[in-house]
Amino acid sequence: MLLEVSNIHVHYGHVAALKGISLAVEEGDFVTLIGSNGAGKSTTLRTISGLDHPSAGEITFNGERIEKLSADKIVKMGIAHVPEGRRVFKDLTVSENLLLGAFTRDDKAGIEKDMGKVFKHFPRLLERRNQSARTMSGGEQQMVAIGRALMSKPKLLLLDEPSLGLAPVIVQEIAKILGEINRQGVSIVLVEQNAELALELARHGYVLETGTVALEGEASGLMDNDHVRKAYLGI
């Protein structure tokens, strides 16, 4: 198992955001977490990447316990997190953003090569590499955020609502690229409000409700589940 989250609890002050979440990601897996606002999706990702820390429970990555490590150490182990709201460095250029994604690496040739790969996924970034991220559209900023995460050469990529606020065409483009990235061997955990898109892309799904896992299973199975259809697919 690449990532194993067992029974984590996370509190913000005295608000319990996660009340015992468990999930597992196999090598090469594509997992999605769906759920309504405030269900704890972002908190789950933030706890895996070390921005938040659980008050109880364990997180194991590649056989090592990581729930107490700080975010900068966890990146080095091979987990990259594309946070909610993209959070690109707006005063820096596109290439500077991408190179910061490779902050933990020294292999110049490898960095060059991965930069090329990012530009292959997102040709638009190549055209605009010397432009400041502030001047990019929402969709382009999302591409910068994903590209930046790829530059750390992750084994596991966490994505928090990459489709938020984007036009359907761009969403489709990004969805296609996530599929490619996964096929190249990067495991993915995708958080989405757009449950239909997420369940189409992923192999496994977890449905989060008020800080707990309400349902889990094959994505195709969840798509046929009555509760999921009513609550998240609006059918």
């Binding site: 990447s49 070390g50 921005l51 700080s70 975010a71 900068d72 990146v75 080095k76 990259a80 997190h81 946070p83 959070r87 690109v88 460095f89 707006k90 005063d91 820096l92 500077e96 190179l99 910061l100 994604g101 902050f103 933990t104 930046r148 750390s152």
Partner: protein, 289 residues
Amino acid sequence: MELILQSIVNGLIQGGFFALFAVGLVLIFGVMSVVNFAHGELVMIGAYTIWLLHAQNGLAFIPAIGVAIIVVTIIGLLMERFLFRPTRDDPLAGLICSIGVLFILQVVATLIGGDGPSKQVPPPFHGTMVVFDSLRIPYQRIFSLVVSIVALSTLWYFLTRTKLGWALRAVALDREAAALQGININRISMIAIGVGGALAGLAGALMAPLTNINPHMGHNVIITAFIVTIVGGVGSLSGAVIAAVLYALFHTFVTVYFGGTLATICGLILMVVVLIVKPTGIMGVRVSE
């Protein structure tokens, strides 16, 4: 006419000093979100180091500048490690700690130099460059201006051309997103306060032969630094440099024609006006979302 030219030159030199300490304040605020009220005292310690080593004990001026930079940088690093890091989640606590450091450093200066009259450091560079008959600039001031420009250019190069410089700006823009790139926030905070401290030490050392040195000289420095950073746009380094030069010219002219106290009062009024009319400052950029 002569007076105007002379004032412009003096204003530019003054602007170099202002920029050196204002930029440090901006850097520390940007990266660590603390307002370092002790920044003026860091400059003061830089000036005292020159007085003690160069004027009192005969160490040559340039090595003494090096020592001043090292001493003030170390004070800055200690402040980060033992005061600002433990209080990181509480900006008010950081601010109060910095006020504590302000008083401690004033007392230290008084212990070292006594509380008698202000100290003077005889200018180590003699002579005056005669540009033309009515414009004469002492070499001491030329030296200060050149060193300020070199220091600020080096900082600019570091921040815009090196990976560590980008990392520093990234932390100032979004600390969490920076951590997600593998950037160690503690290490970047040390670099920010180290650079800010070094520049403050340098400013104090360069000012030493041109000013009165006493334990309270930091007041004027911090007032100036606040005016400059607010006019320049809190968090904007280039704004701080531009505002430093403009404000120094303004301050020099008002001082020449109306006196120094009035110049500072005008500066404070200018700051308040900017806060009301354009709170983002002349450069209009924010440091963090």
